[in-house]
Structures are given as C-alpha cells and as structure tokens.
Amino acid sequence: MDIDEAKEFLVKIKKKDRISGAYIIFGGSSKERNECVIFLSKLLHCKETPPCDKCTDCIQIENRTHPDTKWITPSKSTLSIDDVRWVKGDIYITPYYGRRKIYIFEISYMRSEAANAFLKILEEPPSYGTLIIQSSNINFFLPTIVSRCQKIRLNYTLPEYTVPMEKIYQQFTDILGYARDKDFFRFFKAIDEFVTERDREEVEEDTGKILLLYRDIYLKKTGIPEEFLINKQIDDSFLPSNRNILDIMEKILELKGRIRYNINLKLALDNLFLHISSGF
C-alpha cells in the first residue's frame, strides 16, 4: 500500500468498527510510517472520520502531547523488557479523556526477552487499548508477535539521502584519503574517532550507510539510471581502482552482522578500512 491507500484502509477499519488491539506498521520511509501512525491515532481518538485535524485530540496528537497517546521511543531503538513491563502496568489505567489508550512503539529491534514479555499484552489488551508498532522491517519480529497484529504494509523504498549521511561520507572520505597518502598514523586515529564518538548501534547503522555509498558507486559504474541512486551526486574518487566493489559490499555486510555479537569495534573497522583501501 502507499500512504494514501493505507489511510483509506484505516478509515475503513473505523467505519466498519473493526478496530484491533494491535497494529504493526512497516516498510516505507520513516516519514511515511510516522504520518501513518499519527493518522491512525487521530482516527482512533477524533470524533470525525476521517479525523478533523482541528479538535484538541488531533492537535495534541500532532504535537505528541496527548495524554492518552504515548510514544515509546527507547534509546537505540531497541525495546527492553522494562519498557514492556511499564506498558503492562500503565495500560490498565483507563484513558484520561481520550476514547482509547494508544501506545506507539518506534522500534527497530526487540530482544527476545522483551518480545516474549510483549506477547500476552499484545494478544489481549484491555478493550480501550491499542498498541501500534512501527518499524522499517517486519522481519525483525518473532512470528508470534506478528501473528498477533494487524499488518499495515507500506511500500518498501530505498533509504533517503540525508544530511547526517553526508557527514559520514565526509568522515569516510577523510579516512580513505589518509590511507591513500599512506599516512597511517592519521588513518588509524581517524578510525579511532569514528568508533569512539558513536556507540555500538550507531556504528552498525553508519557502516550500513557506507554500504549504501558503495552500492551507488557500483550502480553508477554499471550505468544504471540516476533514479536508482540514493545519492545522485555520488563520485567514485575514493574507490581504489583494483578492488572489487561487490567484494567490499560483502565485507561490510559481514561486519555489520557481527557488530551485534560483541566484537572489538576498533579492530573490526581497522580491518574493514584496510581492506577497502588496500588497493590504493
């Protein structure tokens, strides 16, 4: 579904009075998901269908200040068991003045403890409760979680090119630049900085962004039209000439997968960047 179809579908849910206790909204860009979540919460609270965008409920939801619409945005986007326990206690307090009580989970990952603790409340929330999970990828979640939710699938899209991404590219270009000049003192120092100023999850996410960079270079080299590129102005100046890009992408993917398993980040990234730049 694209965003408009999703909204249409949600309106139908309300009109037919088939509001479920749990939704999972996935796919799409984070902006689209957000829009969808806000629309759904307004829909559940507002007296009008589709929501009027004028009443106190709507305005408060828009500003994220609605007392009966709670946003659970755990740090590092990983839901912990304590968050779930809190929701479990809180959901049984009846709504303040809204018509329902809504919990919105902006998460991208769930530990198995949290997921299992989540199961019971997800299956049978109180009659006024609605839990909404929004995440980029539905495959993160246990099948038992997913089977308890109504699924709203937005169209999967490529990530967008953003300012933070540009910053990472800058840092990355610097590192490779040092490698090219054989200035290994600065090279290792730059990697050190790259690691220390981020925590584990951020490193994982940002290596993912480097992957996007190589994807773009690869596609550009193969002559794929620009519309498929994430960064349209990509230049391949820091690509070592005799390294194979697919090989590099594979390496990054491998590293990304390993970061979850408590490896030494510094050494892993040293290894990765050396691998990338070994062809200079």
Binding site: S20, R85, K120, N139, P143, S147, N155, P225, L246
Partner: protein
C-alpha cells in the same frame, strides 16, 4: 466493542477446539476417568490453541457441576474464568515474570487452599522464558504440589525447557492445522460474519498463515475490512498479502541470467512500488530454483508450464551444483533480512550477486572450481567476483590481443610496454597449463622486458613463491612457452628477481669496484 476474530472465535469448550482431537480426547478421558495429573505441558507452534485448551481445561475442572467435560459456562466459577477474574485460576505470563523471585512468591501461594473452587490452577504461559534459577526453584513444587493445585504450562519453544521439568509434566504436542481443517474453520467463520470467500483466496491465506489459526484469522480480519459487497476475492487477497506473481519471479531470473542489471533493478523496484515485500520475492526465487532443479533431475510432481519451460531452458547450461549454491546464497540473504534495516538494498545486492554468478557472460562453473585450489594455495581470497565490472574496463588493445591469443593468430609484439600490458593474458594462459604455477606467479610483477628477457620481480614477502617457481625447471619453461604464444616473439627468456635487485645497479660488484678505484661517487644513473 469489537474483538478481533481470533479472540471472538476463541474456542469456549472442548468441542470447539479445532484440529487437535488427539489432545482434547485425551483430556476429556482423563476427566471422566478421574485420572488427573498435577502438571500439564502444552507445546506447539503459534496459533494452534495451547492457551485456549489450558483455559477450557481449567474451566472443566473448576466448574461447579464438575469436574466435567462440558463446563456449564453459567456458574460463578466458569464466568469468572472467562472474564479472567477468578481467584483460583491464575494466568501467569512467564515472559514478564521470569525471575526466581516470582517463582518464590508462587511457591508461597501454592500452599494456600483455593478460595472457592475445587482446584487452584496455575496457567503459566510462554513458560520457555523462565530463567535457569526460576526453573530449578519450580522443580520441587512441580513434582509434588498439594492435591488441590494444578499446573498448566504452555509454550511455543519446548526445546528451551529443562528435561527435568518435562519429565514432571504430561506433555501434549499441538500440531499446525492441515489445509482442510483450517479452510473448513475459515469458511465457517466467514459464513458467521456474513461474508463469502473464494476458494483460491482461502488457499493463499493458508499458505501465508503457515498452519496457524491466529495468523489466518488476523489476515481474514483485514480482508473483511477491505472487502466490498461482503465478498472476499482472490485478487483482493493477492494484493493485500503482497504476493508476487510467479511470472514476475521468472522474469527476474531470466534477467539475472541475461546479466541485464538495468532491467533487473527496474523490475525489482516496480515490484516494490506495487507493494511487494522483498522477503517474499526472495522466497519466490528459491521456489523457482527448486522447480528448475526438480525438473532437471526428473523429480517434479507435475509438468512445468509454458513460462517455467522458458526459464528452464535459459538455465540449461548452468550446472546443478551452481544452482544449489545460488539457492544457499539466497537463503543466507533471506536470513539476513531479519537483521538488517535496509531490506531493499540487501535484496539489490543479492540480485547483483546472482547476476554475476549465473549471468551468461561469465563461464562460472569451471573457473570457480579452479579458483578454489588457488585459494588454498595462495591463502588469498579470490572469487568469481573479481571478474565483475572491472573486466569491462579492459582496454581495447588488451581485448584485441586476448582475442588474437584465443584465435591463435600470431601477433608479434616488440615494445616493452606492449609485453608488460599483456601480463594478465599471459597469466591466464599459464593458468590453463598449470593453475598452481599461475597462483604463485601472481604475486610477482613484471618489471622489465629487455633483450627478449622478461624480468619478474618478487618482493621480500613473496620470496617463498619465487623459490617455489624456481625449484622446478619445468616452471620457467611453461612461462616461456606462454610468453611465446602470447607475444609471438621467439626465444623469450624469463628471469625471476627479488625486489630491489634489478632497480639498483649500484649493488652490482663491478660497479662497486669502479667506484672504489676512482674513489668517486655516483651522481646519476642512466640506462
């Protein structure tokens, strides 16, 4: 107040429990024959009725008219259990109360007699999440609880439960629903809700639910919202579930085979914009590969259709082993989808990889085998991927020469540059004769070609490789033969040198003597 279908149609007595006859019969019998155990363990995949059966069983035991196989649903006890407010049926979510402290307080409460019912029943759901100490604290109570206490444990992952616990319980395994069972129930529910549904639609729902009633009902729930005129059509289901047509998958694979990345990616993105899920596309690819392989070994169940025939033929000259490899790569990536927040990019990389692997521009199978030997030998990771886009960067000149070399035409090269630029071609020529020799030789760099002699230099690190080549006289001969074949120059010699030796003539003893004799110094070296 609306309840989702899965909750609305949650079975309320043993007869409503669907598809688990082997369990309900046994439980009924244990009630009528008064052979009740004190602990039961219900295991099975999601949405098969574990929690429901536990609740019904609790009702049956505690009903005022009971214990009976048909709880009345009217008495105080039955009603409180339905609402979930019974004092004596305690439903505990073990996933959020998983520590030893919770189990300790449970042990204390076990000693209190039931307040007004016959039994005190603990339904412990998601029991696999209990911690190790919690399990062990439970052991004694579970083995010999007071006569009025019953434990019902329910879980989807029995392998996480200690065997000491399992041995203290009566275990019942719930099985996923079979097609006929699920469809019958879905039909029944549709009729009750006042909807009609097409048969193909039911089939797709079954496929998607994986035999879980709750999954099937939650899909049905959403389909009902989308349905027009109280009718659920196959088309609607397909669109809703984001199922990918087999035709599109076949098309993807043909493009993979043709190595046409441009069309491949644009097709992939069209599918995404139609709302397809990358994971489902990958699944489709795996299934299609399976079709091809089954057809090839003559084990396919029914004859393949027109579309598949075309696909099958286009994969004719890819050997089965490569196909199996491809499948395992797709599976690996599909598993990775569970970890990555960039599913689209991941799938793209997979498609590119497949195109390289299976695309008809590379003659992969043999090469792959040979390279494996070298990997072991040179300890360096090299795969087919090296073939990739850089090979397109070959200069025309190189291409011309390599073409010539293939055709066997003699082109006589003279200049040093020309010979050096042919190094890669020479290497591949050597490889045909002696793969291991080529692997060792790869570490060297041709530095100079003078007086019909090619100098190949090895850095200190690769002294070993050099000595390896030198050890056999045959080796030099092979290199020379290849040189003659590629360059067309007769009587070519090959000389292996260690790095630095060639570059600095100053190490030469004669020159040293001259310098010493004149007590001079070297200002400039010219050749």
């Amino acid at each position: 107040m609306y309840l989702v279908l899965a909750r609305k149609y949650r079975p309320k007595n043993f007869d409503e429990v669907w598809g688990q006859k082997h369990i309900t019969e046994a439980l009924k019998k244990s009630i009528t024959e008064e052979r009740l155990a004190h602990a039961y363990l219900f295991t099975g995949p999601r949405g098969t009725g574990k929690t429901s059966v536990a609740r019904i069983f609790a009702k049956a035991l505690n009903c005022e008219k009971g214990p009976t196989v048909k709880p009345c649903d009217k008495c105080e006890s039955c009603r409180t259990i339905t609402v979930g407010s019974s004092m004596d049926v305690l439903e505990i979510d073990a996933a959020s109360n998983r520590g030893i402290d919770e189990i300790r307080s449970l042990r204390e409460n076990v000693n209190l007699t039931p307040s007004n019912a016959r039994f005190k029943i603990y339904i412990i759901d998601e029991v696999h999440m209990l911690t190790e100490p919690a399990w062990n604290a439970l052991l004694k109570t579970l083995e010999e609880p007071p006569p009025y206490v019953k434990f019902f444990l329910a879980t989807t992952t029995p392998e996480k439960i200690p065997s000491t616990i399992i041995s203290r319980c009566q275990r019942f395994n719930f099985k996923p629903f079979r097609y006929e069972e699920l469809v019958e129930k879905l039909n029944e529910i549709c009729t009750k809700e006042g909807f009609t549904i097409e048969k193909e639609a039911l089939k797709e729902i079954y496929e998607f639910s994986g035999g879980s009633m709750r999954d099937a009902l939650s899909i049905l729930d959403q389909l009902i919202v989308n349905a027009e005129d109280s009718h659920i059509s196959y088309q609607g289901v397909k669109e809703f579930l984001g199922l990918v047509e087999e035709k599109s998958i076949a098309e993807i694979l043909i493009l993979v085979r043709e190595n046409d990345l441009k069309k491949l990616l644009s097709l992939f993105h069209t599918l995404l914009s139609e709302g397809k899920d990358p994971a489902i596309i990958l699944e489709g690819i795996i299934k299609k590969f399976k079709v091809i392989i089954l057809e090839r070994i003559g084990e396919s169940e029914n004859s393949i259709g027109e579309e598949d025939k075309k696909l099958y033929l286009s994969f004719n000259d890819v050997d089965t082993e490569t196909l199996l490899n491809a499948i395992s790569i797709v599976i690996e990536y599909k598993n990775r989808l569970h970890m990555e927040n960039i599913p689209v990019v991941l799938s793209e990389i997979l498609l590119i990889k497949l195109a390289h692997m299976l695309g008809n521009k590379t003659t992969l199978p043999q090469k792959n085998m040979e390279r494996k030997d070298e990997e072991v030998f040179s300890g360096k990771k090299s795969t087919i991927k090296e073939e990739s886009i850089f090979s397109q960067g070959k200069t025309d000149k190189e291409k011309r020469h390599s073409d010539n070399a293939v055709k066997g035409e003699k082109v006589v090269m003279q200049s040093e540059e020309e010979v050096l630029s042919q190094w890669k071609v020479i290497l591949s020529e050597i490889k045909k004769a002696r793969p291991t020799l080529e692997a060792a030789l790869r570490e060297g760099t041709p530095v100079k070609f003078k007086d019909n002699t090619l100098f190949i230099s090895f850095s200190k690190k690769y002294e070993f490789h050099k000595s390896l080549i030198e050890n056999k006289h045959n080796n030099i001969k092979t290199i020379e033969d290849a040189l003659v074949k590629i360059t067309g120059i007769k009587d070519v010699k090959v000389s292996l040198i260690s790095e630095g030796k060639y570059e600095s003539p100053l190490d030469n003893g004669e020159i040293k003597k001259i310098v010493e004799f004149f007590d001079g110094e070297i200002i400039n070296v010219e050749e």
